[in-house]
């Protein structure tokens, strides 16, 4: 009995959707940020599943790059969040309303 590729793809699609929905409905910057990380990791799961299924390394190398990029994004994102918090003492996006749509 083997695990079929489609289960991995379905799982990563679900995780990605959870991330997308989270970014859209969450109002706290840190939560939105975590949802974006969830999306990136769902993509990583897709890559690893395909890569393992094909017995090919390209996907796994892609995962390395995505992880590094995610770390760099996390560092910059946290920096931005700290800058905002210093100026405003709140992390609710609804209060980020100086610039209107």
């Amino acid at each position: 009995m083997y695990v079929h590729l489609s289960w991995y793809l379905a799982l990563s699609a679900i995780l990605f959707t959870v991330g997308v929905v989270g970014v859209i409905i969450k109002r706290n910057i840190i939560s939105m940020f975590m949802c974006i990380e969830l999306m990136l990791n769902a993509v990583n799961l897709t890559f690893v599943a395909f890569s393992s299924s094909f017995r090919d390394v390209t996907g796994q190398l892609f995962v390395f790059i995505v992880m590094t990029v995610a770390a760099a994004e996390a560092a910059v994102g946290l920096g931005i969040i700290i800058a905002i918090f210093r100026n405003r003492e709140s992390l609710d996006v609804d209060e980020a309303n100086i610039l209107r749509l």
């Binding site: 083997y2 590729l5 793809l9 017995r55 992880m67 996390a74």
Partner: protein
């Protein structure tokens, strides 16, 4: 249904990793991990006498009562050091493919990879010096 879409053609192995039976140890471990904390709690409920007193409801029944909120604010320095750690920690991931490829037979490529990796580490050191000079590593 999803697999029906994906299974239109079959020629390449569509499975990932080993057989699902390889996960048995993990599942057994999981079962034990659930039983281990739950069992004593359930057993204890039936075996112990339950008598509540004022002293018993105080935190931990020892020490002094907490005087501040648990949500204390930390200095922002912690975040900066944490961010620097995050970056430098994750960059080492690129040493892994290099270490793997280093075993190859192709000598000229090995030399090239060695040189590349020193350049990579050199760039990291430049970044480290930059953070140092800018005072990101100083406490107080």
């Amino acid at each position: 249904m999803l697999s029906a879409i994906l299974l239109q053609t079959t020629n390449v192995p569509k499975t990932v990793g080993g057989p699902i039976t390889a996960y048995w140890p993990v599942m057994i471990f999981f079962v034990f991990a659930v039983i281990f904390p739950v069992l004593p709690i359930v057993l204890g409920r039936f075996l112990r006498p339950s008598i509540y007193g004022k002293g018993k409801m105080r935190p931990y029944e020892c020490g002094i009562d907490p005087v501040t909120e648990a949500h204390d604010r930390f200095t922002v320095r912690y975040y900066i050091v944490a961010m620097l750690f995050l970056i430098f920690d994750v960059e080492t991931i690129f040493l892994l493919p290099w270490a793997v490829i280093y075993m190859g037979n192709d000598f000229s490529f090995t030399k090239f990879a060695l040189l590349e990796m020193f350049i990579f580490i050199g760039i990291l050191i430049v970044g480290y010096y930059y953070a140092w000079r800018k005072g990101a590593l100083e406490w107080a």
